[in-house]
Each structure stands twice: as C-alpha cells, then as structure tokens.
Symmetry: C2
Subunit: 192 residues, 2 copies
DNA sequence: GTGGAAAACGGACTGTGGGTCCGGTTATTG
DNA sequence: CAATAACCGGACCCACAGTCCGTTTTCCAC
C-alpha cells in the first residue's frame, strides 16, 4: 500500500490514520465483525470513505495493520522479553508459552481476528503477522524435534486459532480449556 | 430450507435441482471459487436466479448440499464399509484411515471446500457434514484415549483441512506430505 | 383428454458493500 | 503570503446476495 508517501509527512494524514484505526476498534467492540463495513468505519472516524482506502488500500489492508498493531507487544516479548516466552528457555517451553500468549491475544481480540480472517481469506497465509508467528513456531519446533516437518506442524497449531473455532471453544470451557488442550496436543508431539 | 415441499413432487423441480448442482460443479472446476456467483450458476444451469434460491435457500445452502453429496460416499464407507475406515478396526487405526480418506476428498474437491468455507464462514461448525466428521472423530478419539478432551482434538485435526492451507501444502509436497504429517500429529497424541 | 389449482419458474428489482475518481481543501515550505 | 504538493470527501460504479410477483408448467381428478 503506502502510495509512495515515504514518511506520511502531513499531520492530518497521521491524525486520520489513527482516527480510522480507533474507529475500527470501536466498531469491532459493538456488533458482529461482518457488519463492520468500510462505510461505517469512515462515518465513525469522521472521514470520507476515500481516505480509508488511501491510507489502507483495502479492507484487508486495514485489518492487517490493526492486527499488526495488536500483535506488536507479543512480537516484542518474543524477541526481547524474559523467558519462557522470550529467548533463553528450552524450545518446547517456548512453544507452550507462545501458544498461551496467543490464547490471551485471541481472547482479547476475537472480533478483530474474525474480521481479519474474513477479509484476508486465502491471503491469510501471506499476512505479515501470520508469517511472523509461523516462522517463530517453525524455528522452535525444529529445535525441539528436528525430525518433524516443522512448517507443517506450525500451520497445524496455528489452525487451532481459527476465529469461529476459538469462539466456539471459549463458550464451552473458556480460555483454560483452550490452553490445556493446546498443551495436550503439543507436548506428546515434541517429546515423542 | 426446503420451503415445506415434503418430497419435491414435480419433475421440473428435480431436474432443475440437478442442473444447478451440476452447473455449480462445472463452474468450480473453472476459475477460482470466489468468482462463482449465483448469477453465474443460474446462467450456467439455464434457469432463473429465483430458482436457485428457491431450491437452496442461500449461497450457503447450495454449497452445503453440494458438499454433502460429495461426502456421501465417505459417510457410507465409514458406517458400513470395510475396516480400517469402516467399523471393526482399532479406533486409532480408524482415525488415521479417516484422515487419509479426508485428504483424498480434499484433494479432489479443493475448490468446493474453499467455496463452502467462504460461504459458511462462522456457520461452518454447524454444517451437517462438518458435524458428522466431528462426531465420528470425537467418538474414535475418545475410545482410543479416554483421558483426552476428544471434541477439542477432533476440531484441531479438522482445522488442518482449512482450504487455503490445504492448497498451500499441496503445492509444497503434495498429498503424501499431508498424509504423513497428519499421522505424525495424531499418533503420539493417541498413544501417549 | 381436459380443466384448473398448486407448485414452480424467471428475471427485473433492491440493498449493500468494496473500490475508484476527481474537483476542492489544507498543510507545508520559502 | 503565495505556491505547490499532498490530502480530503463523497458521489459514483460495479458485482453480488437475496426478494417479489406476474407468468408458465406440472399433475391429478374427473
């Protein structure tokens, strides 16, 4: 996206960008994600529809950036935070810590995840945030169990975070059930 | 759906139903699933758009029935076919056989799966075909490893059949990679 | 056969949402 | 305080899901 504007020089552009991002979050808190149209986002943000598209390129672009923002703290914790989420702990422990963190993120941003998935559809697997998560998991799995097809199992674990599925599971057992079962799925795999 | 028509008495109704189903399959073979609109389906089938909706209620309904049709043979094999897919084999073996069969089905119907997923979205988990698969897996997993949260792990395994993911994996290793890894994921879980 | 009611048909119509375009506006810079 | 480049708004376009109703077809009773 970023139509050639190197640094987004103008102040109004920066302001509107934030306004759109905030408006989107606000709408996601309200009704179901499917009803968050870009018309509505523009209205809520108090800008024109054109502005939304100029800033984010498309519906997909908007939700991609929003997700990236929400995932920033996690990325930081993974790269430079304390173990076991950050570097230093054994790979298998880091996998479990990462999945736990992802549960937290999913629980706190279910609507966003849902909207993001709907918008990205097939492009989900080229989304920068997904890619980052997948790379991280792949690396860890490979270190913990070098004989496994690490990229596959990274995809398989991330597939458990399909938004409608998470929603379903959260209504039947809540976060603890999710956490416990992800661990139950991962542990025998990495220690076999 | 089925607007009160108990048995679909009239011949033209039956004929058009088939024509629509066949036309949809034909279109799915062609371009990408996203471009298969119901207008196009109606045109290809040589019927009016209203007829499509009267028969199937919605886009979701159409793809749901098409998937059910494609899954019928598998359902039959599960219930009354020879082991290990059918009854008689140890539960763990039946799980692996079922996953193998699902890979075959997915490979042969990727476009349909993709279109079905897009159309169902959040309702995916109430789709009769999904429900049948999930129930089957849940039962087997519970028998093979009674201490596990069988419904969760059934969902987790089925999540690996997300259409875009399957597409991605098929272009990087083909069916054998999928089969081998599903086995690598399942075996330690059920024997732990 | 035939007549008529029930069932089904077709395609024009509506509403909505993603994405584009361009005339007007505003921030920046010298 | 220009001048200019970036930016803004919202009217506009298109495609698609889903609805509606006047017309046609099927089928069954006679």
């Amino acid at each position: 996206m970023w139509k050639g504007c190197g640094v987004m020089a103008r102040a109004d552009a920066v302001r509107n960008r934030r306004a759109i991002l905030d408006a989107t979050e606000r709408l996601l808190l309200g009704a179901d994600p499917a009803s968050v149209s870009l018309d509505r986002v523009a209205a809520e943000a108090g800008v024109g529809k054109g502005t939304v598209f100029r800033r984010f390129g498309s519906r997909t672009g908007l939700f991609t950036e929003l997700l990236a923002e929400r995932a920033a703290a996690l990325a930081e914790a993974i790269d430079h935070g304390p173990p076991p989420l950050g570097p230093g702990a054994p790979p298998a422990d880091r996998v479990l810590a990462f999945l736990d963190a992802l549960v937290d993120l999913a629980v706190g941003n279910l609507s966003l995840l849902s909207a993001h998935e709907r918008a990205c559809a097939a492009d989900k697997y080229t989304d920068p945030t997904y890619l980052r998560w997948h790379t991280h998991l792949t690396t860890l799995i490979h270190k913990a169990a070098p004989t496994l097809d690490a990229p596959f199992h990274a995809h398989a674990l991330l597939a458990c975070f399909d938004a409608p599925l998470v929603h379903l599971l959260l209504t039947q057992g809540g976060p603890p059930r999710l956490r416990a079962n992800l661990q139950a799925l991962t542990t025998p795999l990495l220690t076999a």
